[in-house]
């Protein structure tokens, strides 16, 4: 809490990062003509309160000493901004809860843990039933058919135990949803190829490790902000490397193959993209323009176009719009970028008519049932065959169509598990986004706001392109359905994305170390 030394007015500090300035949209509004519009940022970090001068005209003084961009503030220190002096004081109740809870989470930890346990249990049962159905349909009850579900469940339970008992996490909702989706994918893949399903389980495991590492890494914002430039350079070099030594598969050159390993670098660049896009409030205020981020985005999207991966380019573009809006709130920039993009796409369509050809079947797939609409018509036919309850795992025929377990996996869900489960899965995707929106409301930094919203926005756009592309509501672009689709890089990267949402949830760190 701040106390105005002159008037005695008490100003509550609501957020973890507070902008101070004359602007009406500042968190702490100063009606003082000597104060700049965006004067300074007062923020809470592990070491305590920090004030940052965000290029103000007259500077910020702590105990009448002009600060050098950044200074730690202690209790009863006096901060002078313009001609206003503010004293940092203790809040009446306790220091730790400056923030009023918007959403009350369950306080009862044991009840929560039992809930997670039973949910995990339910998910394992669900996956096992899928495997049983598969075994019956194949009339094969050898150990091989059970291996994928056993390995998968083993990894997920280890993950559960590690999170709850070693890391002492009180929140596990996100992970549970992701495990549920990943498992469905693994069993679908095992219908066609056991080997692929093992690779998918391996990717799932690596994804979890990346998730745990990134959640730890993002925990310290200074570290993140320091690493940003390295991540940027890393991402760009990865894309350049991809363009240089990439291999073409299914029409796009987005693979790097090293020995037995084939990686899709663009999947990992998604993570870097969010790292670069998101930022803490003090950095947002000092670097107002988006130039650097726009240049980085242009490089990424341009590289994807060169690779011929239009689906991913589209995902990047939407995420770019989302991040730019979150950062600047500048509708004009967004409209400008959009018009540039529309113009650009027209140019592409004009000079490369074969690109337009790919979309000519859109909303007319039945007229092209054996050419451009082949995959979509199969998805629709087999989806409808499944009815509301599905034909059961292993009984579907969509799996014989090319890319059934990645681009067309939504059709497989409809056919084998039914429309109801398919809708539930879609609702889970939307639910993850809603969750990130809700938790980021209580987030500790604008970095978490932006990164969580960008990550969930990206997941939503990707799900939309996958689901609506395969069901002919949008043109088919061939992107994966997060967590479910076959694809190692995609699986690992999606878990990485999830960590941004996880990090935005204040409970992730709050109760772990008990520092706040």
């Amino acid at each position: 809490m701040l106390k105005n030394e002159l008037t005695g007015e008490q100003i509550p500090i609501i957020y973890w990062e507070n902008s101070i300035g004359r602007s009406k949209l500042s968190d702490i509004v100063m009606k003082d003509p000597t104060v700049s519009r965006d004067h300074a940022v007062l923020m809470r970090r592990d070491e305590g309160w920090i004030i940052v001068d965000t290029n103000s005209k007259l500077g910020v003084f702590v105990n009448e000493r002009k600060i050098n961009s950044k200074e730690t503030v202690y209790l009863n220190d006096v901060i002078r901004i313009g001609s206003t002096s503010l004293k940092l004081k203790k809040y009446r109740n306790s220091e730790g809860s400056q923030q009023k809870s918007i959403f009350s989470f369950s306080r009862n930890k044991t009840a929560k843990k039992t809930k997670f346990f039973s949910l995990m249990f339910f998910i394992t049962i669900f996956h096992s039933l899928m495997a049983v159905s598969l075994a019956i349909s194949k009339n094969d009850f050898t150990i091989d058919i059970w291996k994928p579900v056993i390995y998968f469940s083993l990894v997920s339970w280890l993950f559960y135990i590690f999170s709850i008992f070693i890391l002492r996490r009180v929140n596990f909702e996100l992970e549970i949803l992701a495990i549920f989706l990943s498992g469905i994918g693994v069993i679908f893949i095992s219908e066609k190829s056991l080997k692929d399903s093992y690779i998918q389980i391996l990717a799932f495991t690596l994804g979890i490790i990346l998730f745990l590492f990134m959640t730890y890494f993002i925990g310290n914002l200074d570290r993140v902000m320091n690493w940003r430039i390295i991540i940027t350079i890393g991402a760009i070099s990865l894309l350049v490397l991809n363009l240089l030594i990439g291999t073409v598969q299914n029409g796009s050159q987005n693979w790097i193959i090293i020995g037995p390993l084939s990686i899709q670098p663009s999947e990992f660049v998604k993570i870097a993209f969010i790292f670069v896009g998101a930022s803490t409030l003090d950095k947002l205020q000092t670097t107002k323009n988006l130039t650097e981020f726009i240049i980085f985005s242009a490089i990424c999207i341009g590289a994807l176009f060169l690779m011929g991966d239009f689906g991913t380019a589209c995902i990047f573009f939407f995420t770019f719009l989302l991040i730019s809006f979150m950062r600047s709130g500048d509708i004009r920039t967004i409209i400008l970028t959009c018009s540039a993009a529309v113009l650009g796409s027209f140019m592409v369509l004009k000079f490369k008519p074969y690109v337009a050809n790919r979309f000519s079947a859109w909303r007319h797939v039945w007229e092209y049932a054996d050419s451009l609409g082949y995959q979509q018509t199969r998805v629709l036919t087999y989806s409808a065959s499944g009815g509301l309850f599905g034909l059961g795992t292993g009984n579907g025929d969509l799996k014989y169509v090319f890319a059934a377990t990645n681009d067309l996996v939504f059709g497989m869900i409809c056919e084998e598990l039914g429309l109801i489960i398919a809708v539930i899965i879609a609702v889970i995707m939307a639910g993850i986004a809603m969750y990130s929106w809700v938790v980021s409301m209580k987030g500790r930094s604008t970095f978490y706001y932006i990164s969580a919203c960008a990550a969930s926005g990206l997941l939503i756009v990707q799900s939309a392109l996958n689901i609506f592309g395969s069901t002919d509501l949008l043109p088919l672009t061939g992107v994966t359905l997060p967590f479910v689709s076959l694809g190692g890089s995609s699986m690992v990267a999606t878990w990485g994305m999830l960590s941004f949402i996880k990090a935005a949830d204040e409970r992730t760190y709050a109760l772990k170390g008990g520092r706040f």
């Binding site: 629709l380 036919t381 065959s385 034909l391 879609a426 809603m434 919203c453 939309a464 689901i467």
Partner: protein, 458 residues
């Protein structure tokens, strides 16, 4: 931080839009799911061989199609298979108006709730019983022989179609290969000509012109015109096959005098002709159990006087659909209203114990007054007795033949339309034989044979 927090609403909006998209997919799923699932690309339907579909029966429970040992079997009688190809369909979806195509979902037991899931466990397939008499269809088919055309017969009191045949046809067991199917012999073989074709009517259209006259004049029967075999209209000619001299409606119809009906049409005027034709169902769409008919066409808005005069005798750009003409016959027989024809008696799902009746007697609105219908019955009865004496022996049939000129040095289409006045044999018929010559000697003979057979077996 407040600002950024407000802006994160975008994610909320995105999620909602995504869910709206999902809702739209579910909406399309419920609306079009049947079409999606029943498509031929669906390998759950075992590709093209329809190995799981239900039976199709005729009115006497003769099996017309069934699935035995994962194979689709059709009637054992080759002639019946050929006669009913267009109604039943084959294993392909080329014949779009066939029962196997339009009622695929019912035959396979598909429904939106269980998809095709339930049909794997229990037999949800429906058996479809038709109103057809397959023996009568066989008779009609052999009557047409190798000529192209169509025969339709229905019970004008109940609406049951008892015979519907279209030629050319083929045996579904021995479908001609693709280079043969392009030959003239098989021209339009996938089209059910009774449902999906419309032809120049020729003299049978005189019934419509006569109706227009009867509906607008008190003493239409007394109106007399002079036929000199030819009539000159602004340099263009309307011709007649004979010199009929002074002639009135009844004889003009019996002798099929072109000049009389051309003059009658000119006298009535375009407006009255068009409104009468439209009242009788020209330019409107009809369907049989949801299968659309090609509409009959009458439009003289752009016709010259001579064209208009010719339109009154069924030439110019007039077009009629065989089933539609049969419906008009039903209306004349019944006194001004016809019963909507249908093809499906019922659908039975034995395993589910569900029987759905489709037979429904639906009377359509009056298309002519009952007085007018009575006059037409008399005129057509006179026509049949005086002119077609050798046909329909022992039957009380009213009829009108037509010989439609189709130009291009092709032989004319032969038509006959009519009905039995005897209420114990309440049948109306319509027969067209393409490029065959006079209606009397071509279509007339087929109609007569079919009606005789119907009289014997019904």
């Amino acid at each position: 931080m407040k600002k950024t927090r407000m802006r994160s609403m975008v994610v909320y909006i995105m999620s909602i839009s995504f869910l709206i998209g999902i809702a739209f997919f579910v909406f399309e799923f419920t609306l079009k799911g049947k079409f999606w699932a029943m498509n031929n690309i669906n390998t759950h339907l075992s590709g093209n061989d329809m190995s799981k579909a239900g039976k199709i029966l005729d009115r006497n429970n003769n099996i017309l199609a069934q699935s035995v040992d994962k194979k689709r079997k059709y009637s054992e009688d080759k002639d019946i298979r050929i006669a009913l190809l267009h109604t039943i369909g084959d294993n392909s979806i080329n014949i779009s108006t066939s029962i196997q195509n339009n009622f695929r979902a019912e035959l396979f037991g598909y429904n939106i709730i269980s998809g095709l899931g339930l049909s794997n466990i229990i037999n949800t397939a429906n058996d479809i019983k038709l109103t057809l008499n397959s023996e009568l269809c066989k008779e009609a088919s052999s009557g047409l022989g190798n000529r192209k055309g169509a025969v339709v017969v229905y019970n004008y009191d109940t609406g049951e179609i008892i015979c519907i045949v279209s030629k050319p046809s083929y045996d579904p067991y021995h479908k001609p290969d693709s280079n043969k199917i392009n030959l003239d012999e098989y021209e339009g073989v996938y089209i059910n000509r009774a449902l999906s074709s419309s032809y120049t009517p020729g003299s049978i259209f005189k019934i419509i012109t006569a109706t227009a006259s009867l509906e607008s004049n008190e003493n239409a029967e007394q109106i007399s015109y002079t036929c000199n075999g030819v009539m000159d209209l602004n340099g263009e000619k309307v011709t007649c096959l004979a010199h009929h001299g002074d002639i009135k409606l009844k004889d003009a119809m019996a002798k099929s005098c072109n000049i009389y009906f051309a003059k009658l049409a000119l006298e009535l005027g375009r407006e009255r002709m068009e409104s009468q034709a439209e009242k009788m169902g020209f330019n409107s769409n009809f369907d049989i159990n949801g299968i659309n008919l090609k509409n009959s066409f009458y439009d003289v808005s752009k016709a010259s006087d001579c064209d208009f005069a010719w339109s009154g005798v069924g030439q110019y750009n007039d077009l009629v659909n065989p089933v539609h003409m049969m419906m008009i016959m039903g209306a004349i027989a019944r006194g001004g209203t016809y019963i909507k024809p249908y093809l499906i008696e019922n659908m039975v799902s034995e395993a589910m114990g569900i029987k759905v009746n489709y037979s429904r007697i639906v009377a359509e609105p009056q298309i002519m007054t009952s007085e007018c219908a009575e006059e037409l019955r008399n005129i057509m009865s006179y026509t049949a007795k005086s002119q077609y004496g050798s046909l329909f022996k022992g039957l009380d049939v009213c009829a009108k033949t037509g010989t439609a000129e189709v130009g291009d040095d092709k032989k004319p289409h032969g038509w006959i339309v009519g009905f039995s006045k005897n209420r114990n044999l309440p049948l109306a018929f319509s027969v067209i034989v393409e490029n065959a010559g006079y209606g009397f000697s071509t279509a007339g003979v087929i109609a007569s044979d079919v009606m005789q057979k119907a009289n014997k077996i019904m």
